[in-house]
């Protein structure tokens, strides 16, 4: 019955619709999911406040970040006919499992963080990606290592996740002969003793270690490297851009660690996002909180413009050109961010325990 009544209530002022977050809210991958959800919810909150009523409702769907759970959750999402758009899914694996369902239901998605290249090549019309894919980030990280760190010997390792391994492979091939050795570890939560990796890094004489993986493993690795007396720089991708890294390793060990991110520093965008976020959630904005905030605003702008069906909203995304706090967004035919808009920044961990914008990386 929700389907029939929604048409009546929705017609006035484009209210009464929902935007959905789809991603991990519980489980071992919840940190990233919660960052994104909170950015997303903040945007809708601000929109509703401006309207003076709960115009657009927040719908949350917890996929646990697992591909095996995602389809069932996605089906329950598409059963809700009031939902016009989805922010998510955050991970590439769950995207593979859930996006076909969204595609078949015709609900537009904007993912703030699923960076697997192949997602854009499946012919999904509802797929949109608000960040650069792995192909953009890898060369940037390599360029930073070569140009800014000027490292002569680089060790490359990854956690075998699709994300981490993909990134590490690009870095490896871009750096070429600078890579003296490489290794792979087990994934997040599957390994805690990295002494073999640490030993290899130490004895390789490398001054930089690129680790393709998430901050959880990276924090441990950084700490064990420091304990073993290795003085080089740890470099990683956006999966490591989280204060959790320094919480594990200790701030002192984390200082100087470089993370690249296909996003601009939110503080650079001016605005009040950073403070608003802190005020609402009582914690600092995390990785991709800002992109999710932007993604939600893109949808809200579209709804405001009268696109009150998933179909219309999806068509709207084809034409959008939105300047948000993290970036300016314009999507290509396949749903990728327009290449001209892709920026990759390097962030550096400092004494605050968090990463601060360092430089924008130019990959010529």
């Amino acid at each position: 019955n929700s389907g029939s009544s929604s048409d009546d209530t929705a017609s006035e002022g484009n209210c009464g619709y929902k935007l959905a977050f789809f991603g991990a809210l519980t489980g071992s991958a919840a940190n990233l999911g919660v960052n994104i959800e909170q950015g997303f919810e903040l945007a809708i909150d601000q929109y509703n406040k401006a309207k003076g009523s709960t115009c657009i409702e927040v719908a949350k769907f917890d996929s646990q970040g697992e591909a095996s759970v995602a389809p069932g959750v996605a089906r329950s999402l598409v059963a809700d006919k009031k939902i016009l758009g989805i922010v998510g899914p955050p991970f590439s694996g769950e995207s593979e499992a859930a996006d076909p369902i969204f595609e078949s239901a015709g609900i537009p998605t904007i993912t703030p963080s699923a960076t697997r290249v192949s997602l854009a090549s499946k012919g999904w019309k509802v797929f949109h990606r608000a960040v650069a894919n792995d192909d953009a980030q890898g060369p940037a990280a390599a360029a930073y290592i070569k140009d800014n760190l000027k490292a002569q010997k680089v060790f490359v390792a990854d956690d075998q996740s699709a994300y981490g391994a993909g990134l590490a492979d690009v870095v490896k091939s871009t750096l070429g002969s600078l890579v003296v050795q490489s290794d792979k570890t087990e994934g997040d939560g599957k390994q805690a003793d990295f002494s073999a990796l640490v030993q290899k890094v130490s004895s390789s004489g490398a001054t930089a270690l690129f680790y393709g993986g998430y901050y959880t493993n990276a924090g441990i690795i950084r700490k064990q490297l420091t304990a073993a007396g290795w003085k080089g720089t740890l470099v990683g991708g956006d999966g490591m851009k989280d204060p959790g890294l320094s919480k594990a390793s200790g701030v002192a060990a984390a200082v100087g660690t470089i993370v690249t991110c296909p996003c601009s520093p939110p503080e650079a965008a001016g605005g009040t996002f950073v403070n608003d976020y802190k005020a609402k959630w009582n914690q600092d904005a995390g990785t991709y909180s800002d992109v999710a905030f932007d993604a939600a605003n893109i949808f809200l702008q579209g709804i405001d413009a009268g696109n009150n069906t998933p179909q219309k909203l999806n068509d709207y995304l084809k034409t959008v050109n939105y300047k948000g706090i993290a970036n300016t967004y314009k999507f290509t035919e396949t749903g990728e961010l327009d290449p001209s808009l892709i920026k990759v920044w390097a962030f550096k961990f400092d004494n605050s325990g968090d990463s601060k914008a360092d430089v924008e990386i130019k990959t010529s």
Binding site: F61, A67, V73, R75, S76, E96, S104, S161, A162, Y163
Partner: protein
């Protein structure tokens, strides 16, 4: 009077059922089957329905998930419950079934150029593969006793997972996408689409029924007797002429086959698999389900298998005060396991044999 007495001594639903004439039993079975097939519409029952169906996860999808958990429980029940071989790595067979399907059908597979089969074509090959995997696991472990077998099976499952994660052929976390769905069309639409999980559940149900029939046939035959004899006293069994090696291997192979069925269905419904799904906790959970339900009894295994999938799903969206219990679902689940096992060490629906055994054992506890 005597009727009543015998009711008490052989009480409960099972006692009642056992005393009915065959045609009543058939009607009961038929009604149960119809109800099972109607489960996706349980939400439409007034009052009770909303209490049953899940929130936050599509109810038919939850049912489908239950169906492959039930398959896994049924298969593990053959290995652990019937043959008494403690297997802590059963998820390995589930993985082999799913990967077998993916390798033969997914465009991401290295074999795609040569195979690129439809789902249905891949099924028999994938299942044959799991049976071989069962034999490969079974053969070297034949000499091992209970707890040693447990760690070795656990190790095998981990080796399979690590292998899947770390070799390029099995694509690790990248996984296999676009695995085709089962075939068939209805009014020009494919029956097995992406948005509606009901057909998948029905398919799962049909497979479960076939498996139940098959396992029941084996159980009530020389094969089941041999398994039981092996579990009770392996050497005496062999001296009585039971080919223990052969039947242990069959137990592994049949268990693997059923687990593989689960994997094949899973791959066909998801369309995407990667190495993240096949973690150790999964096996341990299924084992907990089998024992909790009542190991050695199919009804118990079915209930246990369904519960381990259903309980966490049903805990979605339930809140106590301000806290959403969903986050606590596995902690609560652990608690539920302890409570069930302490109250019913023989399982929720034990086999008659086990129930009796426990009753006897309880009387023999020395003063404490």
């Amino acid at each position: 009077m005597s009727e009543k007495a015998s009711f008490r001594s052989n009480g409960g639903v099972r006692g009642w059922y056992g005393r009915q004439p065959a045609w009543v039993q058939w009607i009961v079975i038929a009604i149960a089957l119809v109800l099972a097939f109607l489960l996706p519409y349980a939400g439409d029952i007034p009052l009770i329905g909303p209490q049953i169906v899940t929130e936050g996860i599509d109810w038919p999808s939850a049912l489908f998930n239950m169906s492959y958990y039930v398959l896994l429980a049924l298969g593990l029940n053959v290995v652990v419950g019937y043959a008494g071989l403690l297997d802590l790595g059963y998820v390995g067979f589930f993985a082999v079934g799913a990967y077998g399907t993916a390798l033969l059908t997914s465009p991401d597979s290295v074999l795609y150029a040569d195979t690129g089969w439809k789902w249905l074509m891949a099924v028999p090959v994938a299942l044959a593969l799991t049976m071989v995997a069962g034999l490969i696991l079974g053969w070297p472990t034949l000499r091992l006793r209970g707890d040693y077998l447990a760690i070795v099976t656990l190790g095998f499952a981990e080796i399979i997972r690590i292998f899947a994660t770390s070799t390029t052929t099995l694509r690790g976390d990248r996984g296999f996408a676009s695995i085709p769905h089962p075939p068939g069309t209805w009014n020009g639409e494919p029956i097995f689409g992406v948005t509606d999980a009901v057909p998948y559940f029905w398919l799962g149900l049909v497979v479960i029924i076939l498996v139940i029939l098959g396992v029941r046939n084996l159980d009530r035959s020389r094969v089941g007797r041999s398994w039981l004899a092996i579990r009770e006293d392996e050497e005496a069994a062999e001296i009585m002429g039971v080919r223990t090696i052969k039947y242990k291997l069959w137990a592994f192979a049949i268990g693997a086959f059923i687990g593989g069925l689960g994997g094949v269905l899973f791959a066909g419904e998801q369309g995407f698999i990667n190495s993240q799904t096949f973690v150790l906790q999964f096996s341990i959970l299924v084992l907990a389900g089998v024992v909790m339900g009542g190991s050695g009894n199919m009804a118990g295994a079915i209930l246990g298998g369904a519960l381990i999938s259903y309980i966490p799903d049903r805990l979605r969206g339930i809140s106590l005060g301000d806290t959403d219990l969903y986050e606590y679902r596995f902690a609560l689940f652990g608690l539920v396991i302890i409570i069930i096992m302490v109250l019913r060490p023989q399982g929720l629906i034990p086999s008659r044999r086990r129930a009796m055994e426990l009753k006897d054992r309880e009387k023999e506890v020395a003063p404490q």
